[in-house]
């Protein structure tokens, strides 16, 4: 995607003015804590994405980019806080500059700017994971399964995938919800139609047979087809408007019988037992105070769980323990899930009661209508009231909450007031006393009622069918999405798991070459277990050391990034990510990055100079592709070790007669340089298990090694009979000896006058020659052309040459065989 050529940082975080030249290659930034390494990381992230995750992400509290992005002395001038990066975009063959100011982080100045360039920059902006700290890395490894799934999902941009999944499920659920009610309505309409037709089975032949029998009585043509639009009354003259509608005696008696049947059913032993059963469940639920608000609370807790980040309540600022709080909330969520399960079971028991109550309501409504049609009208108010009561009870049971209302409603389900039965009996008497209709009148009434109920049935069936089709389609779409997305994700996790195990196995091949891992997605969680020496799979934090967990973090990150960005994984910033990994395994990490990610440019920070040396010796970075900070000051920002600056600074202090500062700086620099020289020359100071070497141990060892190397080189040249080389080496050797003698560095242990502890007691004129002697001595370790410190190659086994980076100094150390 991109490669970083350079960065210029002005008045940003702890940096006043700094330019680093990466040259599109791996680069390392080393320095003790508080010297400005992370400021550079922040600047890189800011330049590429317009944000600084440390100032805006989890746990940033009241800190913000706008307020705290600029250097503290420029906090009132965010426009001065600027970062410019020079990038190459290999796919476009272009080199561009991106410059942002904290004042307008979302409006970078891009030069040159075109659609292709802006598209690449948008891609970079959408991948903030290119900058990763150890804190962020380790959370992939040690997070809880739910949290890890979130972290990995965020890295893989799975929020969109989940959003679509939730949306499709919601639609499918919404489509299914009314199906039950519509099905009940259709069944009721069917039962009413069958009753009107006087048949037991709703088949085309039986409907036509029953209808044609009535039509024959009226001399109407027989119907031969029964389609969606067929009218059973076809050919029958419409009743005159003035003519009052009459009760169909036969139909009314059938409907009264049907009403008696459902009223009897609701008070039957079976239904009464069902009501008691449902009521017991609801009463049990009612003892749990969380049921009523369960759904809302569960949703609140689940949302809140994802937002628990800071160490104090955002409302009242009371401190809390994050892990304890998460455990506490998880218990509540689990409890509410159990409540939800019990609630669904109780609702399922209430559902048939709701259907029966609606059936009673429908049956009683017919009776009310017959009462209205009676002459004189028969006011059966108790029937009307009971119909309304059944409707209300059904609605209350269907709503289920509040539970107190449901319990009260259940108590009335199996109650039919005697007055209702009396009113039904009275209506039946009135209808029975109606004169028997003529055959023609009876047939006419039969056809009218049958047609009316057929239309109600057709409408109910249409609605049910449409709803069912929608629900089926929505569910099918949702199911297909779930299956395919799971399949894709499982495939991705399997690839990542394989790649991760392979990368980690490589880094730890000395003892875990057969390492395996399991990334197991399940119900929105992502389990991560790792093999522990063939004894089984366990969470990474169970048995593996912190160092191994660090290795796992970077390997999982690399595997995810390789999958996420493929060939586009061209750039990453690793901020002190391997602090717990031991030296041997860091070397393997170097090899891994160099070989497996050769197309990726890594910018790495570390506080550990030994890790920096590993990066150099393993050729992960070039010898000049690093800076080493010596300190930081609020006025100057990070100070890096630069030989020219050091001697100028020492001279400045001496001019000010500040021997203390001058001596302190020289000693500090010599400590850094002496360690570097021992490393480069493969010198052997007395071994210390704690690696806490003193300057008095390192510098003499480096001098001794340099003398030994010249001796070896002369011996070698002699074996090859290279007389001119011997002469040249002798000159170098004696010159170096003079410089070493001049510094008296080897007399450290016995000569109090040159011991660094006594320097600050010297006067300026006494200390100036000391400083000059050491400057000259260090020059003796350098190539005369490039002025870089010489080094022995290779870095282990037999010493073969003493050389520099420019290649103009290359001294053979191997004898002729």
């Amino acid at each position: 995607m991109i490669r970083l050529e350079s960065i210029t940082i002005k008045e940003f975080r702890g940096i006043r003015d700094m330019t680093l030249d990466f040259k599109g290659k791996n680069f390392a930034i080393c320095g003790p804590n508080g010297t400005g390494k992370s400021g550079i990381v922040d600047a890189l992230e800011f330049a590429l994405t317009g944000t600084v995750s440390r100032l805006s992400g989890e746990g940033s509290g009241e800190v913000s980019l706008k307020a705290h992005g600029p250097h503290v002395d420029s906090r009132a001038a965010p426009d001065k806080a600027r970062v410019a990066v020079k990038l190459t975009i290999p796919s476009l063959g272009k080199t561009i500059t991106v410059e942002r100011s904290v004042k307008a982080p979302g409006s970078p100045r891009v030069t040159p700017s075109d659609a292709g360039v802006l598209d690449v920059l948008r891609q970079v902006e959408s991948h903030p994971e290119i900058v990763l700290s150890r804190r962020e890395l380790i959370r992939y490894v040690l997070a809880t399964p739910g949290k890890r799934a979130e972290e990995v999902q965020a890295l893989l941009h799975l929020d969109q995938v989940d959003r679509v999944r939730a949306g499709l499920q919601k639609i499918a659920n919404a489509c299914e919800r009314p199906l039950s009610g519509l099905g009940t309505s259709a069944a009721d309409a069917r039962a009413n139609l069958l009753r009107a037709l006087g048949i037991a089975e709703l088949t085309k032949d039986k409907v036509l047979a029953a209808t044609n029998a009535q039509r024959a009585t009226l001399g109407l043509l027989a119907l031969t087809e029964l389609t969606d639009t067929t009218s059973l009354r076809d050919g029958l003259a419409t009743a005159r408007a003035a003519e009052p509608q009459r009760i169909s005696k036969i139909q009314a008696l059938a409907d009264i019988r049907a009403a008696r049947e459902v009223l009897a059913e609701i008070v039957s032993i079976t239904i009464t037992a069902r009501v008691v059963d449902a009521e017991a469940d609801v009463r049990a639920l009612a003892t749990d105070p969380e049921v009523a608000t369960g759904v809302a609370q569960e949703s609140f807790y689940v949302t809140g769980m994802g937002l628990i980040a800071n160490h104090a309540c955002p409302f009242c600022d009371s401190a809390w323990d994050l892990d304890d709080l998460r455990r506490h909330v998880q218990i509540k969520i689990d409890h509410l899930k159990e409540v939800s399960r019990r609630r669904q079971a109780a609702e399922a028991k209430a559902e048939p009661l709701v259907a029966l109550l609606r059936k009673i309501q429908s049956a009683l409504d017919f009776l009310v209508r017959y009462g209205d049609l009676a002459r004189p009208p028969l006011t059966i108010q108790t029937v009307r009231d009971h119909s309304v009561s059944c409707a209300i009870t059904a609605t209350t049971l269907a709503a289920f909450l509040p539970l107190a209302d449901t319990i009260a409603a259940l108590a009335t389900v199996s109650t039919v007031p005697p007055a209702v039965l009396d009113a039904v009996a009275e209506l039946e008497k009135v209808v029975s006393e109606l004169p028997e209709p003529t055959k023609q009148d009876s047939a006419r009434e039969w056809l009218s009622v049958a047609q009316e109920r057929l239309e109600v049935y057709r409408s109910a069936m249409r609605q049910h069918k449409t709803a069912k089709e929608q629900a089926q389609r929505a569910r099918q779409v949702s199911d297909i999405y779930s299956i395919t997305s799971d399949k894709v994700l499982v495939g991705i996790y399997a690839d990542v798991q394989r790649d991760f195990a392979s990368l980690y196995g490589f880094v730890n091949r000395d003892d875990e070459d057969k390492f395996k891992a399991q990334l197991v997605p399940s119900m929105g969680k992502l389990g991560f277990d790792v093999d522990f020496y063939g004894r089984g799979f366990f969470p990474p934090g169970a048995y593996h050391s912190e160092g191994h967990q660090d290795s796992m973090g970077i390997c999982l990150y690399l595997a995810l990034m390789r999958h996420l960005q493929g060939g586009g994984f061209s750039f990453a910033v690793l901020d002190d990510v391997l602090m717990s990994v031991d030296a041997g395994h860091r070397r393997e990490v170097c090899t891994l990055l160099k070989t497996e990610f050769s197309n990726t440019q890594f910018i790495m920070t570390t506080h550990d100079p030994i890790w920096l040396r590993h990066m150099k010796t393993e050729a992960l970075i070039g010898n000049r592709a690093a800076i080493q900070f010596k300190g930081w000051s609020i006025d100057q920002g990070p100070a890096q070790w630069d030989e020219r600056d050091v001697w100028a600074e020492i001279g400045d202090y001496l001019k000010q007669n500040d021997v203390r500062a001058s001596a302190g700086l020289l000693r500090h620099y010599l400590e850094y340089v002496a360690a570097e020289l021992c490393h480069r020359l493969r010198a052997q100071p007395e071994y210390r298990g704690d690696a806490q070497y003193q300057l008095g141990e390192l510098l003499p060892a480096a001098i001794r090694q340099m003398r030994r190397l010249y001796s070896l080189a002369k011996d070698s040249a002699n074996s090859w009979n290279q007389k001119e080389v011997i002469v040249d080496l002798s000159v170098r050797e004696s010159s170096f000896a003079a410089l070493a003698d001049g510094s008296k560095a080897e007399e450290w242990q016995v000569n109090v006058a040159v011991h660094f502890n006594s320097w600050e007691n010297l006067g300026s004129s006494d200390f100036a020659p000391v400083a000059e002697a050491f400057r000259n001595l260090l020059g003796g370790f350098c190539c005369a052309h490039c002025e870089e410190f010489l080094r022995v190659t290779p870095d282990r086994e037999t010493c073969e040459s003493l050389r520099c980076d420019c290649g103009k100094t290359n001294i053979n150390l191997v004898r002729k065989k």
């Binding site: 959003r163 499709l168 919601k170 609605q463 389609r473 395919t484 894709v488 394989r498 390789r562 960005q565």
Partner: protein
């Protein structure tokens, strides 16, 4: 070590999921117009709202 082969073009994960989903819909008994509407919403417009999804799955049919 047998690392994953590096793919030159790596479509993002949501795009991979959506493309497989649309392929599967085409193979199932889902009307072509529904598939086309979902493709427009997910792949072309990249709109993932409930409203957009509902319109794609049910078109302008009223949700009963």
């Amino acid at each position: 070590m047998t690392g994953s082969p590096i793919r030159e073009e790596a479509p993002d994960v949501p795009t991979q999921v959506f493309e497989k989903f649309l392929e599967a819909l085409t193979g199932a008994n889902i009307p072509a117009e529904v598939v086309a509407r979902l493709k427009k919403a997910l792949v072309e417009d990249k709109t993932f709202t409930d409203r957009a999804l509902k319109a794609a799955v049910l078109s302008d049919e009223p949700l009963l």
